[in-house]
Symmetry: C2
Subunit: 184 residues, 2 copies
DNA sequence: TAGTTTTCTTGACTTTAATCAAGGTGCAAA
DNA sequence: TTTGCACCTTGATTAAAGTCAAGAAAACTA
């Protein structure tokens, strides 16, 4: 929890007390599309994929690698049904806290919201860059950038998830990989 | 400034005092790609486009419509050169505040950061939805969604900017428009 | 381990968008 | 008002990604 901003020891304890531990088995859903969301999660081990159901097909739109906080922020704040399902890709340990309690914690002291603020800022940076890449770069360029910036994604995840994440079809990614192998 | 969270009158005055007014003429750049950024801006009238230079061509990647806060958040926080140039599309009135001062303001009272926090959350929601649309929707679907969600964009902006924003070429958008006209 | 299922690869073909180039339109400046 | 320029539209062509289908490889299960 020290990635963004280090809270004083005392406040950190107070925050940690809001979370309860749980375990979840491979392939289970943590958030289901359409659910209401009221918790913030911290994934300690394993990784997740987020997907949307489009005409019966599951389109993977995001990945979460431990250790990381996550939730469906849109559903949570706007109190609307979740847009995305989150599926655990291996047996995982995680912590959950009611967001109401987090909000209270943040309001109790100015520095308490700094961590969340930094988290939002970096999430923003990530999605802005991803948007720009989808607009400006070719599928092959997007794949190469992903390879550079998040090599874990490529090592651990099935090709079809990566393809959807990049906005292309699995067959196309398979061909991109072959092209890259041949030309090297 | 009341879109997200209404500050008490006193705090609002304190915040407003951090901003200085300025005017900028049509077509001028407010932030230039490569600049260092240390201010938060509030656009009171007019609208902006953000663009990147790719192989000599200006690719429009974002629009800002008054009234709205904006800055290059990535450049600002990571103290890296701006990724995007911001150009005013008509003579505009705006306000600027050093971000250092904003940070101090936020740290002086827990509720002072709430507005910024809501701003970040809604910016996030916006870019997440845009990313998903770029992944899942066809160019025509993306155009129709934009038409629905931000009709101002379509009314006021040149076709080629809208096309780049949607990740397609101007010729393609021109053809999409014709198709839609014919089929209605 | 053997067998089953899922995922990946590959080829042939179709669809879609990009590119290139020409002509038209409309706005802006003189 | 006229002229010039920037922008948009359109058609012909090319390039790229999508689709469909079959077979190979890998992963899971009994």
């Amino acid at each position: 929890m020290d990635h963004f901003y280090v809270l004083p020891e005392e406040d950190k304890k107070q925050l940690a007390a809001l979370f309860t531990e749980s375990f979840i088995r491979k392939k289970n859903l943590l958030i289901r599309e359409g659910d209401l969301v009221d918790k913030l999660y911290f994934l300690e081990s394993g990784h997740l994929r987020g997907f949307q159901n489009r005409d019966g097909e599951e389109i993977t739109v995001s990945f979460i690698f431990a250790p990381a906080f996550f939730t469906d922020l849109i559903a949570l704040r706007q109190k609307t049904p979740a847009l995305v399902s989150f599926q655990v890709m291996e047996d995982s340990r995680l912590f959950a806290a009611p967001f109401d309690a987090i909000d209270k914690f943040m309001l109790s002291k100015p520095t308490n919201s700094l961590y969340y603020l930094r988290f939002l800022e970096s999430l923003n940076a990530f999605y802005i860059k991803r948007t720009f890449s989808l607009i400006c770069d070719s599928p092959e360029e997007r794949y190469l950038k992903l390879l550079q910036e998040r090599p874990k994604v490529i090592e651990k995840l099935p090709l079809r998830y990566i393809a959807h994440y990049l906005g292309i079809k699995p067959e196309t990614l398979s061909r991109i990989r072959r092209r890259l192998k041949e030309s090297s």
